[in-house]
């Protein structure tokens, strides 16, 4: 956290300050107190979870605040191998990785065609995509179970991947549509004059130009897919589990075999990678949020 503080120190502190009134200082102080309280409410549970992940069950019950007797990785080893968190982690990486690449590619392709070409039915397709954003995913889950079962894709990672792709498509298309629409058309025109076909124009010119938009959408898709729970528990209940699923299964067993230390370790393993990635990329992500709202 100290690292963060340094990183985010204001750049403009050298500029001349207007004299602040006592009222200003009071407001600033109050603001800092309120924001600090909220930050504590956010951070303390996470730190507590992290600390508890090194404790034995006995230590956890003895005192919720005491530091672990020894900072051993036993709980992590247990969670990673015995509870299957390791395998699930790898499954998650595969499923989310492949889905993300596919949905970004297919979404960009679809958004590009819809944004740059007008043809009969293009409007209908766009509205259909919007509809997918508004309907609750729950409505589709039960019939989807039947669809995947019919295709023999139930409880299989490829089935999960294609479902992830399908459900992340509307969001992706919706945002990239606006992005492609705003890219200057002259460049595509120039490429066509220079003899580049549609394929080449897209992959060599338009796609690289859309990189900032792609990055924003990819970040949100990643978070959405990595955190996805409902889709895997519905259509992959009997398949190789992904992380959120395995974590849930692990917590459910807890009623019988009490190993809270390992549970905390499992939660930590789930949380840490994305949290670290977020801290590294937070500037870009904050930018993405504002980009998403400005249109």
């Amino acid at each position: 956290m100290t690292l963060l503080k340094q990183k985010t120190a204001p750049v403009g502190h050298l500029e001349r300050e207007a004299k602040s009134t006592p009222g200003d200082r009071a407001v600033a102080a109050t603001s800092h107190v309120v924001l600090a309280i909220w930050s504590a409410i956010v951070v303390l549970p996470l730190l507590w979870t992290f600390m508890s992940s090194f404790k034995t069950s006995n230590e956890i019950f003895a005192s919720p605040f005491a530091l672990p007797g020894a900072w051993k990785l036993d709980n992590y080893i247990k969670a990673w191998s015995e509870a299957g968190i390791g395998a699930a982690f790898i499954n998650s990486v595969i499923v989310v990785g492949v889905s993300l690449v596919l949905v970004m590619l297919l979404g960009a392709m679809c958004a590009y065609v819809l944004a740059r070409f007008s043809f009969r039915g293009s409007r209908v397709i766009y509205v259909l995509m919007l509809a997918g954003l508004t309907f609750p995913i729950f409505l589709a889950m039960v019939p989807l179970f039947g669809v995947l079962k019919g295709m023999g894709l139930l409880n299989q990672l490829p089935g999960l991947i294609i479902t992830y792709v399908a459900f992340a498509l509307p969001f992706t298309v919706f945002f990239l549509f606006a992005f492609f629409k705003n890219l200057p058309g002259e460049i595509a025109e120039a490429a066509a004059i220079d003899g580049a076909g549609e394929w080449r124009t897209f992959f060599q010119i338009m796609l690289p130009m859309a990189r900032p938009g792609l990055a924003s959408v990819a970040i949100f898709n990643f978070l959405g897919l990595w955190n996805q729970f409902l889709i895997p528990v519905t259509i992959n209940a009997g398949g190789p589990k992904v992380l959120s699923q395995e974590l849930f299964a692990f917590a459910q067993q807890m009623g019988y075999a009490v190993d809270f230390g390992a549970l905390f370790a499992a939660v930590t393993v789930t949380v840490i990678p994305v949290l670290i990635a977020y801290i590294l990329f937070q500037r870009q992500l904050q930018g993405s949020v504002s980009q998403g709202t400005s249109r």
């Binding site: 407001v27 019950f61 070409f117 589709a140 039960v142 294609i162 066509a192 009623g255």
Partner: protein
């Protein structure tokens, strides 16, 4: 692999190229459209649109999900759902969530966003609070954590004997020894709502900060010259200027409150909470389909959920419109 230099094209080539691009359906263009539109659309239609459409049909049948046979039973499923006490209990729980979660989350994140953006000096250029990006970064943490992990973590925090909450309260001398926050009908729902809000405030705070930063600084300066204080500025300038963002936030949070599956499932491993005080419709749908094997009934619940979602979104848009929104949204 760079493109041929522009000099390779003759003067008249430009017009011809554009025309041929518009008129002639070359193989290049046809294959391009077919692949670029065809593949994504096929996946989308098969795995999203088709199940949505099927849902409406299945909701009128007694399909079990496991045998291929079913028969149409009209609106029987709907009639039975609305006389099912457990579903009605779940519905009322969702309504509680729908009323409280969006309101508290939006208000709290607006307050925090306002503190960050207008907490600075009242002299000179309008500035945000100094050193505040730390809060913004930290508040966003929960959004990066899978909801399942959030639910399990808070389940442990609320734990009667080893949890952080009772530990803290007992350390403060308050006697909450072994109070089961999630095991008691009085507190289970309130505690779950807190967890959901904890998970969402940061994201909307960042969203609102972005919105507020997008407001032209002259507006704030004008308000200040006119003698408006901080509170007045927040109410009369900030909120009207970002009301579209607030509306979006409200709709998303409402849709979420009507679902709430992940949080409730992971907070209460023994589904439903004490005396079903935290049972939500989505959980009921899930059990009906995958534990009782009543797919027809479950899809009918899904349709009800969808209708509720649409009604709620419509209501938010209507309220925003009636209170004079949209025009004030952007300049």
């Amino acid at each position: 692999m760079s493109l041929p230099p522009p000099t390779a094209v003759l003067e008249g080539g430009r017009k011809a190229a554009i025309q041929s691009r518009r008129k002639n359906l070359t193989f290049d263009k046809v294959s391009f459209m077919a692949v670029f539109l065809g593949i994504p659309l096929a996946i989308y239609l098969v795995f999203v649109i088709w199940p949505f459409l099927q849902a409406f049909v299945y909701s009128l049948t007694d399909w079990s999900g496991f045998s291929p046979n079913y028969k149409f039973i009209g609106l029987d499923n709907y009639a039975r759902i609305f006389t099912d006490d457990q579903f009605l209990k779940a519905l009322s729980n969702n309504v509680i969530l729908l009323i409280i979660v969006p309101l508290v989350t939006v208000v709290l994140s607006l307050v925090l966003a306002a503190l960050v953006t207008v907490g600075g000096s009242s002299k000179g250029q309008v500035k945000g609070l100094k050193n505040s990006s730390f809060y913004r970064v930290v508040s966003f943490f929960p959004y990066t954590i899978p909801a399942v992990a959030i639910g399990i973590m808070w389940g442990q925090i609320y734990d009667p004997s080893g949890g952080l909450l009772n530990g803290a309260l007992n350390a403060l001398g308050l006697n909450f020894k072994d109070y089961a926050w999630l095991g008691n009908t009085n507190t289970a729902m309130a505690c779950s709502i807190f967890v959901i809000i904890w998970g969402f405030v940061g994201f909307y705070m960042v969203l609102f900060i972005a919105g507020i930063k997008g407001i032209p600084a002259e507006l704030f300066e004008a308000a200040r010259i006119d003698g408006a204080g901080r509170f007045r500025t927040a109410v009369s300038v900030t909120i009207p200027m970002i009301r579209d963002n607030i509306q979006t936030a409200y709709v998303y949070l409402g849709i979420f409150a009507l679902d709430a599956f992940v949080y409730m499932a992971s907070l209460f491993p023994n589904a439903g909470g004490p005396e079903n005080s935290t049972l939500v419709m989505s959980q009921q749908l899930f059990f009906t389909a995958f534990q009782r094997g009543q797919f027809g009934m479950a899809t009918a619940m899904g349709v009800i959920l969808a209708v509720a979602t649409l009604l709620f979104s419509g209501l938010v848009f209507l309220v925003n419109k009636l209170t004079g929104g949209t025009d004030g949204g952007r300049l």
